[in-house]
């Protein structure tokens, strides 16, 4: 875990808004991702957690070059992905696969499952027809589905089944990096366990690297080596899972952890809910984005933006409390 397989630097994505109404345009933008840096090391699972709408999915798309960043770079194996030609980027995508958050919308409604799962193989010219067919069956079974499902269309599946199809498709190419955007949220716990076991096994076998976006903090804790906590388009804390779970530094991380749901009906713990108005990415608050809801906010927090600073080996936080 020395040389990063991927380096993300200063990544920003601002979506201009109010373009939806003709003749009306404004300079406003949704600052979905607003300056993100991190390194990704080979063979690790890098977790991203954070408030819904804080830019996780956008970040995932940026990494894969599906959307052009407003600024910033993504280096993959030392190459700036943005500088690659169309052709090169296509083959780079073979190594970076993605499971999208939206299992339903991610499947072409007019194609059968076997087509969809074997499509990446066809795209990259892998295997014969027969081999691909076998591969589809294998992949289906690894995600807990059966061969007969291959003959059906997406709308005939439940949400969880679609999610598994998406996972199967992303794994088809034996990629180096898999970006998983909420890959297991639609799955029941036993399938979830099955898929997570699989991901872990594949990781061991092929030295895969995962970027794992999830809201389920237990899952993240279980599967991730390092975790980044995002808030309003920025990373507020980053560290190993132990560091984050045992010793959270940022007030937002703390709030998040304290909101993990009960583990049994007999659990008496009360979840803490964050107070204060939710800020918007269109108009993020000055200074530290979190100060409006932070119980420890100081005057300084309203004026200046803290930067991500190392507090420990591999553990960085962007908060004035920890300068």
């Amino acid at each position: 875990m020395n040389k990063p397989i991927m380096e993300v630097q200063g990544l920003k994505k601002h979506f201009p808004i109010a373009d939806t109404v003709p003749f009306k345009s404004s300079k406003m933008a949704v600052k979905a991702v607003d300056g993100i840096d991190f390194d990704l090391y080979k063979g690790e699972t890098f977790g991203i957690v954070g408030e819904s709408g804080c830019g996780k999915s956008t970040l995932a798309r940026l990494i894969n070059q599906l959307i052009t960043p407003t600024s910033g770079t993504v280096n993959f194996n030392g190459v700036d992905l943005a500088k690659l030609s169309q052709k090169e980027i296509r083959s780079a995508r073979k190594s970076i696969q993605m499971v999208f958050q939206n299992p339903d919308a991610s499947l072409d409604p007019r194609k059968k499952i076997d087509y969809l799962i074997s499509e990446p193989l066809k795209i990259h010219n892998i295997g014969t027809k027969e081999e691909r067919k076998q591969k589809v069956v294998d992949l289906l079974s690894t995600v807990g589905m059966s061969a007969y499902h291959a003959e059906r269309y997406p709308h005939e599946f439940s949400g969880g089944q679609k999610q598994r199809i998406n996972i199967a498709r992303a794994l088809a190419l034996n990629p180096d990096v898999v970006i998983c955007d909420e890959p297991v949220s639609a799955l029941d716990v036993s399938i979830q366990a099955q898929v997570i076991n699989l991901l872990k096994r594949l990781q061991k076998e092929f030295d895969l690297t995962y970027i794992f976006i999830s809201h389920d903090l237990n899952v993240v804790r279980y599967i991730c080596d390092r975790i980044a906590v995002m808030y309003l388009g920025r990373i507020v804390e980053i560290g190993t899972f132990d560091q984050i779970y045992q010793n959270p530094k940022h007030p937002y991380t703390k709030a998040l952890l304290s909101a993990i749901p009960k583990e049994s009906p007999f659990d008496k713990k009360e979840r803490t809910v964050l107070n204060g108005d939710l800020p918007s990415p269109v108009n993020p608050p000055n200074g530290c984005h979190f100060h409006t809801r932070c119980p420890f906010a100081m005057e300084k927090c309203k004026q200046e933006s803290p930067i991500l600073q190392s507090v420990n080996q591999g553990h960085s936080v962007s908060c004035f409390l920890h300068e």
Partner: protein, 320 residues
Amino acid sequence: MGKYIFRRFLDLIPTLFVVATIVFIITRLIPGNPAAVMLGPTASVEDIEKLTAQLGLNDSYIVQFLNYLKGVIQGDFGMSLSYNQPVTTLILERFPNTLILAISALSIALLIGIPAGMIAASKQNSFVDYIVMLVSLVGVSMPIFWLGVMLVLYFSVNLGWLPATGMGSLDDGIVPFIKHLILPSIALATIPMATFARITRSSMLEVVSKEYIKTARAKGVREFIVITKHALKNALTPILTVLGMQVSGLLGGAVLTETIFSWPGMGRLIVDAIEKRDFVVVQGTVLFIAIIFVLINLLVDILYKVVNPRVNYESKGGEK
């Protein structure tokens, strides 16, 4: 969007240049000397030669073309060879007539076609659906000259309710004016109506199985609203396309209908001009129509965006 619209206006310039060039070439390419054609069968050799010279058709093509372009840039489409009038005047005389007929026919087509398509879709494979289908197909299979004559035979000759031909004038009052409008509008409306009905039906069928329709129903929204609002707006894209095409088609002039009903519109102007080899009018009208088409399609493109906010004209597929 504002920038996009501006750019589309700029597109007009190369479009028109290319169209102007092509019409010019084509008109010189096809057989028929305007002078000979205009003077008719009994013209003598000398007459033809004289007129040819008078019309400036002895100049080299390059000179003719440059003169023509110069005129167009100055907004002057030239002087008709056969009418002895500026082309602009001719167009401005006829275009309003075409517009009236087009609007009236399109209204009929839309008001009947779209609801029919919607009903057919919501009752897929029912009797109503089949009837709509059959009627639409009869509509497109019926040539206008046939339908037009039949309408006149029945409503004018037999029943005497409506005038057989002509446009009538608003000076004679609104009622006779509308009476003149009815038959040509119906004849002209059949094909668009049938197309609207079929396209609407198919497009609606694509939409009604979508999840968000389920959501709308789950909200308890009345089925009528579900269909007319939620489903229709999503189904509107191809309907808009067809609408744009039909408007373009009709504004370019409906030759057959105009001929049958003696409607003084663009279509007859153009066809007369082509037959008479009145190149100046042909060039002028084609350019004029090209401008209209570009504008209509701009409007359609704006409407696409209004109807479906996700539409993006600048990005490639799958890029955001």
